[in-house]
C-alpha cells in the first residue's frame, strides 16, 4: 500500500496529520455499512483541506473518526490516524478523549441542534474550556467572553448568558466556532460550517475562519458538499464518493484539471455568482449509492456518463487511486488519463464556462 499524502507534503518529514487506509464500518441489522472504506490523506499545520462529497459519501464519518467519537462498541475501525506523531486508532479511548477539544476540535453543521438547548452558550463554552484547563469558573467565563468577542459577537458579556435558541443562525455558528477554539486546537474540523446559513452570512463565517486559522496556525479540514466553499479556503481538495477518496490534489489542480467524472459533476453543480441559475447547474444524475450495497466495480458507474468507455471494467473492478500528472494529483478512475483530460478539456470545461 503506497502512502497517499498531500501533494505539498515533504515526504521526508512526518506530517502533522496523516490518515492511512482508514476504514470505519458499522454493523447494522440490514448489513455492514462501509461508511469510510480506506481513506488516506495528510495535512500540515496552517493548511486547509477541503473534503467534498454528497451526503452519505462518508466525509462526516471520517472526521468524527479522527476525533475518536466512534469506538469498538458501535463501529469497527481499522487503519491509522497519526496526529503529530501519535497514533489514534490504537490509542486508548481516554487518550483520544484528552486530545479531543484540546488539540483537535470540531465545528458542527446546524449549530441549533449541535448545541445543548438547556445550557447557555457561555456555559457550553466554559465547559469545553474547563475540561482541559483547570481554571476557576470566573476565569473560564472571562475566556468565554473573550472568545465570543473574537468571533465577532456584539455585547459578548451579555450574550454569554443567552441560550442557543436566542441567537440568530450566524451568531450561533460564531458561538460554535468560539466553542471549538476555546482550547486553541491545532487541528480544526469544520463540518458543513455554512450550510445552514444564508449567503451573506456564509461569506462572513468563511472570512472569520480564514482569519482565525491564520491567527492560530491550525490545520483546518473543511467538510462540505459545496465546492464553492472549498474554492474559497482550501489548499488541498479531497473528493469522496461511496466511502472512498476518488480524487485528491491541490485546490488549483482540482479546479483547473479535474479528472474524475464525479468531480466534473460537482463542479457543474457549483453555484457561481456570475451565471444565471438555469445555466450554471448541471446536476449529477441519480442518487448516491447505498453504503450497504455499494455498486460493484467503480461505485460511481451507475451514474457515470462515460462508463461504457471502460470496456466493462466499470462493473467488475474497483479502480485504484492513482497518481496522474506530476503535481501529486490522484484519481480513482478506469478511464485512461488522456481520455479523461480530453473529455475535460473538450466537453466539460467549455460547458461550464461558456455561455451556452
Amino acid at each position: 500500500m503506497n502512502t497517499v499524502i498531500s501533494p505539498r507534503q515533504d515526504p521526508t518529514k512526518t506530517p502533522f496529520l496523516e490518515l492511512r487506509d482508514l476504514k470505519i464500518h458499522f454493523p447494522t441489522d440490514d448489513g455492514l455499512v462501509k461508511s469510510v472504506d480506506g481513506l488516506s490523506f495528510s495535512l500540515e499545520r496552517g493548511k486547509t483541506l477541503g473534503i467534498v462529497g454528497e451526503s452519505g459519501s462518508g466525509k462526516s464519518v471520517s472526521s468524527l473518526g479522527i476525533l475518536g467519537i466512534y469506538h469498538r462498541r458501535n463501529a469497527t475501525m481499522s487503519g491509522e490516524i497519526w496526529l503529530d506523531g501519535q497514533e489514534l486508532v490504537s490509542a486508548s479511548q481516554d487518550t483520544v478523549r484528552g486530545l479531543r477539544g484540546k488539540r483537535m476540535a470540531m465545528i458542527f453543521q446546524d449549530p441549533l441542534s449541535a448545541m445543548h438547548p438547556y445550557y447557555t452558550v457561555g456555559a457550553q463554552i466554559i465547559e469545553a474550556y474547563r475540561v482541559h484547563n483547570k481554571v476557576s469558573k470566573k476565569v473560564a467565563r472571562k475566556h468565554a467572553i473573550d472568545l465570543l468577542a473574537r468571533v465577532g459577537i456584539p455585547q459578548p458579556d451579555k450574550r454569554v448568558d443567552d441560550y442557543p435558541h436566542q441567537f440568530s443562525g450566524g451568531m450561533r455558528q460564531r458561538a460554535m466556532i468560539a466553542m471549538a477554539l476555546s482550547c486553541d486546537p491545532e487541528l480544526l474540523i469544520a463540518d458543513e460550517p455554512t450550510t445552514a446559513l444564508d449567503v451573506t452570512v456564509q461569506a462572513q463565517i468563511l472570512d472569520l475562519m480564514r482569519d482565525l486559522q491564520r491567527e492560530f496556525n491550525s490545520a483546518l479540514i473543511i467538510i462540505t458538499h459545496d465546492l464553492g466553499v472549498t474554492a474559497e479556503l482550501a489548499d488541498d481538495v479531497l473528493v469522496m464518493y461511496g466511502g472512498k477518496c476518488i480524487e485528491y490534489g491541490t485546490a488549483t489542480e482540482i479546479f483547473e484539471n479535474p479528472e474524475h467524472p464525479y468531480t466534473w459533476g460537482l463542479l457543474g453543480s457549483m453555484p457561481r455568482l456570475d451565471q444565471a441559475v438555469t445555466e450554471r447547474l448541471l446536476p449529477i444524475k441519480g442518487t448516491p449509492p447505498s453504503l450497504i450495497n455499494v455498486p460493484p466495480g467503480c461505485a460511481f458507474h451507475p451514474r457515470c456518463a462515460y462508463a461504457e468507455q471502460t470496456g466493462g471494467l466499470d462493473r467488475t473492478v474497483v479502480p485504484e487511486l492513482q497518481l496522474t500528472g506530476t503535481s501529486g494529483h490522484r484519481v480513482r478512475c478506469h478511464l485512461p488519463a488522456h481520455t479523461r483530460q480530453e473529455i475535460w478539456r473538450n466537453e466539460i470545461k467549455p460547458n461550464l464556462e461558456g455561455v451556452a
Partner: protein
Amino acid sequence: MVTYIIRRTLGALLILFVVSLATFLIFFGLPRLAGATPETFAARYVGKTADAQTQQMYAEKLGFYDPLYEQYGRWIGAVFTGTEYDYGTGVEQCEAPCFGYSFRTNQPVWEDLLDRLPVTGSLALGASIIWLLTGVAVGVLSALRRGSFFDRAAMTGALAGVSLPPYFTGLMFLYFFSYKMGVTAPGASYTPFADDPAEWAYNLILPWITLALLNAAAYARFTRAGMLDTMGEDFVRTARAKGLTEGVVVTKHGLRAALTPIITIFGMDVGLLLGGAILTESTFSLKGLGYFAIDAIGKQDFPQIMGVTMFAAFFVVVANLIVDLLYAVVDPRVRLS
C-alpha cells in the same frame, strides 16, 4: 407569565366545571332517565324500615324534588360559598369549599376526603419514588448498553411488567410474602407516618411495590427510548467532541434532556394517582381515596361521589398545570404565553 397562569387556571376551572357537570349528570341525571324517582333516591339513605312517608320527607329534606339544575346549582354554590347543614337540633356552617355531607353517615365529605388523602398520598409517595428511581436507572443503563444481555433482559422484564395487572401481582405478593412467608402485612391497615414510621412502611410496602412495578416497567421503557433519542442528538456528539468524559456526556447532556419528558409523565401520573389508586387500593383493602370512591359508588352516596371525583380531577388538572410550569423552568426554549 402571570397572564399565562391566569389563563391556564381559568382553563383548569372550566375543565373542573365540565367534570362536575358530567359527574352530576351520570349519577343523578342518568338514573332519572332510567326511571328512578326522588323517593327511590331517598330510599337508599333511609333505613330499611322506612315507610313511603319517611322516604318522601327525606327526599324533601335532601332536595330531590327540585329540578336537576337547581340541585346542581346548590351543590356548586356550596363549593364556592359554603352552606348550612341541619343536623337535627341545630344548624352547622359548612365553610367553602363545602362538598356537602354524606347522605349515609352525615359526615362532611370534605373532612372524609382529607382523612383519606394521607393514605393515598403515602401510597403515591412511596410507590412513585420507587418506580422513578428504578425505572429511570434501568432505562438509562439499557439505553447505554443497547443490545446487551442486560438491555434485552431489562426490556423483556419491562414489557412483562407493563403487561401484569396490578391486582394479580398484588394478590401473588400477598400470598407469598404475607401468607406463606409472613414477612409483610396482610393487606394494608394504614398507620399514619407520624404515629409509627416503621408500621407505616410495613403496611404499605406491598402496595408500594405492586404499584411501582407496573410504573417502573413503563418508565424504564420511556427512559430507554428517550435516552436513545437524545444520545443520538447532535448536542451529545458536540459534548463528546469537547472531550468530556462519557459519564458527563451521559448525565449532564443526555439524561438531562431525556428526563424532561419523563418529568412530565411523572407529574401527570402522580396527579392521577392522588385521586386514588383504585385497583391497588381494592386489592389490599387500603382505605384511600380510590377505595372511598368505589365504596361511595357502591352505596350511591352522591355527595361523596361528587367530592371524590372533583378531588381526583382537581389533582389531575393541577398536576397538568405544574408540569407545564415546570417544563418552562427545565427547558429554556419553552415560553409561557
